[in-house]
């Protein structure tokens, strides 16, 4: 019986120390803000609004996570999501009649066009990183400027707003009582989780992140794997962009610039090693929820948004410091153990 329990716990979520820590952290944050601001924080309205805000950041973070698992990074996520949202929004506003009516077909077509933009942008990143061997930071920094620049150039920096009602229903509606974006996020998280843990592509991604040289010598087609991760990252970013557009009924070239820092904070807090090779989707989703609670909690306590920015940076640096300290201690302990035996 005991053995079975142990197997269950090692096979399940608890096996991952980082995820366990994060669950503790989530509970702590929840209790902390509930105690300090029960009336505002611990209300159904607040939880509902959090459930609408979490998905976009979670999906963008999952996109960053994929590239970080290979040891790279994707800074162009926000550029891609805005470009995708703008294209979709543009098509919708063009096909909308005076009264704001539009056929569902056109909405779907517009979304598909947005997704296509995401795939193309991801493919551009892939060409630069996987084929031309440009360092991921630099390549995505450049494409981020490019995508953002094209979006500003085409729109002249003006946002496209007043999107059709049917489209807004996706971002603001509920599915079986749960906010639709949250459901979409869960579907995407499960899909990426499956991709990483159950497919050969996922295994290769982790291998490349652990040791690129070894991956090269094992002839797994490391470039192809890296190319796929950036394409999927582009796809996910475009989905996040569509969700943002449908929630806010607008698309703008400079929306969510702060999301890049936020997404990286989430990913690192979620236990993904920035050098690659290790990380879980559960961690990322939990980390998004923690940060969203902190954000809402700060709001409830009437702290300014800049204080939240300070907290974000602080959390990022603190988590990294703790990671290195614990890592060192663990290595020392294992060295001592092997010396003892």
């Amino acid at each position: 019986m005991n053995e079975r329990l142990q197997r269950f716990s090692t096979a399940g979520l608890l096996a991952d120390r980082k995820v366990t820590q994060l669950m503790g952290f989530t509970t702590f944050t929840l209790i902390f803000f509930t105690v300090f601001s029960f009336n505002i924080f611990f209300t159904p309205e607040n939880f509902r609004s959090m459930a609408y805000q979490v998905p976009e950041i979670a999906i963008l973070s999952i996109a960053v996570m994929l590239s970080m698992l290979t040891g790279g990074i994707d800074l162009s996520i926000v550029g891609i999501s805005n470009a995708a949202a703008l294209v979709a929004a543009y098509i919708m506003t063009q096909k909308m009649t005076e009264g704001g009516d539009i056929s569902t077909m056109w909405i779907i077509a517009a979304c598909l066009a947005g997704i296509l933009i995401g795939l193309i942008c991801g493919a551009i990143n892939s060409v630069l990183i996987a084929i031309l061997n440009v360092t991921p930071i630099l390549a995505t920094l450049a494409t981020m400027t490019l995508f953002n620049g094209i979006a500003i150039g085409i729109t002249n920096g003006v946002s496209v707003s007043d999107l059709p009602k049917q489209f807004m229903r996706v971002g603001n509606g509920t599915f079986l009582g749960i906010p639709t974006p949250f459901v979409l996020m869960l579907v995407i998280a499960i899909f990426v989780g499956y991709l990483i843990n159950r497919t050969s592509l996922g295994l290769k991604v982790l291998l490349i992140g652990t040791n690129r040289k070894a991956a090269q010598y094992s002839v797994m087609g490391d470039r192809k794997v890296i190319a796929w991760t950036y394409i999927i990252s582009g796809l996910l970013s475009s989905l996040a962009g569509l969700i943002i557009a449908s929630r806010t009924s607008a698309a703008s070239p400079d929306f969510g610039n702060s999301y890049i820092l936020l997404a990286i904070v989430v990913v690192v807090l979620g236990g993904i090693n920035p050098m690659g090779g290790f990380g879980t989707v559960t961690g990322v989703v939990l980390a998004t929820i923690v940060l969203q609670m902190v954000s809402s909690g700060f709001n409830a306590l009437r702290f300014s948004q800049f204080f939240y920015l300070l907290a974000q940076g602080g959390v990022l640096v603190l988590v990294m410091i703790l990671n290195t300290v614990f890592e060192k201690r663990r290595i020392n302990r294992s060295i001592n153990k092997s010396l003892d035996s």
Partner: protein, 339 residues
Amino acid sequence: MNFRKLLRRNETVLIFAIIVFSLVIGSKSPEFFTIANLFDILRSSFVQLIFALGVLIVIISGGIDVSFPIVGIFAGYTAVVIMRKFELNEESVLVPIALAILIGIILGGLNAIAIAGFEIPTLIATLGTAGIFRGFMLSFIGASFISDIPLGLDKFSTADLIKFESEAGTLVRLHVLVIPVALITLAVSLLLNRTIFGRSVYALGGGVESTRRLGISVKRTQAKIYMLVGGLSGLAGILYVSLQRKANPYDLAGSELDVIAAVVLGGASIMGGYGTVFGTVLGVLFINMIKNNLVLLGVSSSWQRAAVGVLLIIGITIQAIGENQKQKRQRSATSKEAE
């Protein structure tokens, strides 16, 4: 150095690009070839060049810093706030500059603690500290725009070295900053090429482990690098405030890309170990030339950012292709030796 090698150098390519671009714009609008335009390009390059020199040092050492614009505006804004609060000498220019450099060095020191002390990857560390610095400044130091900056700084913005009226009747001005900026550029160049510290920066970019085995303290070198960059950023920040004649805490954030783009276009290798001050100067001038004169080409200013993106992609692609070819040559050379 033989001729072919000279042709392949990044600086040569950049000079060619600058000449070609000047000819294209110049043929379309004669306004381009005026001294006024040249001085304008110089004036808009000062602040960026000082930032770029700092970034160059970091990039040569194999790191990347995205917090420098925030450090700059933090230092510039805070220096102005301190000047006003303690009613320090209104007329002085050197006091706020010294204050800003000091604040920059302190912030750079915090970066150094995160990077050298705790071995956090540089991009992540500076992203984090950028958030911290910006959040701290806007929450605790001030979030409001200061338009009446100390008199000395205000006057400094119009301190011109050369000033005359052109034939077209417009005022042509060359700011006095051109001299100190040139001196700083020279100093950084000497620092990188003629001192032990400079050589250890290059060594660090070449390889961390080999640097350690050479007997160079990696941590100490990194700490010095990030403090130096902090100081340079602080200086750039206060000069920006002075030239703009206002201290706006929301400024500069987001300008890191243009500076990094200029340094990379200037031939610095993002993997570390290679980069020249001359290339960086050319890179900064090139980017500013394009940003200032796209309008003359009939391209609307909203396409500026896209143009920088395209340039950056072209620059890194050329660099990457060169790097790949070099590796291939090395590989075939070693396999030939093995035979």
